[in-house]
Symmetry: none
Subunit: 418 residues, 2 copies
Amino acid sequence: MKVGIVTIGNELISGKTQDTNSSFIARLMTVQGWRVPVAISVPDDEGAIRVALSYCMSMSDAVVVTGGLGPTLDDITTAAIAAAFGLTLYTDESVLANLKERFKNFHLKWTDNNAKQAVFPEGVETIENPVGSAWGYFLKKDGKIIAVVPGVPSEVQRMVPESVVPVFRRKLETETSYIESRTIKLSGITEARIDQILAAVNFGTLGVDIGFYPSFPEIQVVLTARCASEKEAKERIKKAEICVTEKLRQYIFAYDQDTLEGTVAKLLSEKKLTLAVAESCTGGLITDRLTDVPGSSVFLERGVVAYSNESKKDLLDVSEDVLRDYGAVSEQVAVLMAEGVRRRGGCDLGLATTGIAGPTGGTDEKPVGTVFIALADGTRTHCRHFSFRWGRRRNKAITSQTALIMLKRYLEGERAHE
Amino acid sequence: MKVGIVTIGNELISGKTQDTNSSFIARLMTVQGWRVPVAISVPDDEGAIRVALSYCMSMSDAVVVTGGLGPTLDDITTAAIAAAFGLTLYTDESVLANLKERFKNFHLKWTDNNAKQAVFPEGVETIENPVGSAWGYFLKKDGKIIAVVPGVPSEVQRMVPESVVPVFRRKLETETSYIESRTIKLSGITEARIDQILAAVNFGTLGVDIGFYPSFPEIQVVLTARCASEKEAKERIKKAEICVTEKLRQYIFAYDQDTLEGTVAKLLSEKKLTLAVAESCTGGLITDRLTDVPGSSVFLERGVVAYSNESKKDLLDVSEDVLRDYGAVSEQVAVLMAEGVRRRGGCDLGLATTGIAGPTGGTDEKPVGTVFIALADGTRTHCRHFSFRWGRRRNKAITSQTALIMLKRYLEGERAHE
């Protein structure tokens, strides 16, 4: 099957916003084993939308349209589609009631322009929006199916996999091929190096496609197999996964939908261990990531963002002498921070970061990107020294990633001895 | 002038690579005062390239084509263009000599497939590549001009501004429009409500386009004016901005490239005030945002992620009695957290959050999304109660946003009394 993509919005075509929906949808369709013959971005303009749809339909069996479904004046996608296909518009009363209910629940004031989001072209099948107020819809025309969804990336990322893909899949039940895919998440290695290491594996012979998707600070390796039976597809993926795992084991931290923080949280919960975190250069990013995991209060006792020397003394019992003799960015201070936060929190483990995120504050001896990460378990404290070379935000991101990976390895190492 | 964009490459259309060339070129053209009516991505396929070119030319005065100019078999852009326009191909001997020289200089082994990069359709004007080996070219057809450049982003980012824009500009010396834009960032209001409030303003009469770009938890309102002179464009934007500011002042937190955390950081630094933060439900997100601002160590003394009752007692001096009588998620505890972190940090200000981020932990009395935010200045402590209704990550995000806005308003209020 060929699936075309039309993304609509002045912001896409003025360069104001990077259109991430096209590549998200293209990837999702490719992973299903479908081809994307064209992706088009057009402004919020009726004529442009009509021409783009017609062009896209001429090249595709199905089309995904995103954007222009909001309540404001510049959102004209539905009107443009109705005009293009000669359809009248109607208000869906159940969607309208749902919208009003949603506003009530969120304590938002209902204004009449929102009713526009309950207006659809006749004959469509609506698609509920689990995370926003603009519903989408399916439209059938000339044996082709068009899915229209809002353009907010977080909504596209829910609605297209959950609602659009299954309907497209049903449309093509005659195509009996089965697709299996596996995402392997790696950190601490470059894409070029992964490519080089995996060059020895002939994925073609295994009947598996391989793709690399870097998303700082991690890289995703995606294996996809398409064949007649589910069993065959799963077997091919399993073989390919074993090849990748054998060669890159030390860099792999999670699979598929799992995250690094989710993996660490699961390990801590399973082992009934508690954690306290003392952050300097990461500024709270480590605890922010850990507390994104539901139920993290079970293992996370406290976090401390010790930006000043005074706070390192008050909250972590780091001594004045050590701060003076070695400086706040030093192995000695990192060790005392990890031990201090662990002891003060009465926890099993203490994790600490100190470093120079930049852009200023570096010296010849300790340039921007110098980072120390320490992990204390009450018996011993392990500290590592890193030299990162990114901008401030990326230095924070890679430091949090590295700290969580140190913690994960520690937890897995313990488990190995059980 | 209307400039269409065609990006070519299998990697763009499989979702393997994010197409950044389209948005780079779109922005560059928009800044020149030109409009981009369409941006199309197609695979390395002769038919698809031909159709895309024809569609794009029908909507544009000029077209920029990127990608498919490399030496490998799948690079077929030049062959496809020659076939589409019925042009023969020739080898440009001076480009060939230049390529061989380049290989020699870089100590690369010359292989004959590289000679493909010196092959062009007849009648083109070549474009030198200052950073790579694939040259580009201009082609004229039906009074329109087509610029073809390689797809490597770093090469696009040199060749399009340096070589393509000047040629396009000469083509249109009569069109001398200037563009000015202004981004206004708002929070705490829905897109629909903004639209309704601004419906009273006739931006058309002011000669200004308006667009809304929601990016949770903020909404950006973008004003754009195109006219013959820079002065006129700036004046139009100024007038429109005054209209927006008058009606939505309380929701505006920043302009253009400024961020909320950057604005708060600037206010704290200017007023020489120090801050300590105690977070429960936001889990470190507030300090993570503040420490993204370079130089934040000047005002941020400490942050505390007090996830357990024990940590609220140890780090913030919240009393056992209050925790027992009112519960950790309560106005009383929020107030004591803000006051405690301020006093312990010896700071001017203390900011605190406590709440139920979800998905579990809610009760009838305090459902998921219940949040208390407190701000203490040593004289008085102000606490507000919110009921958010999102998922865990969004509840954290909107709580951090609301807390930073409370802090910003406090700092601006103080300034008003100076």
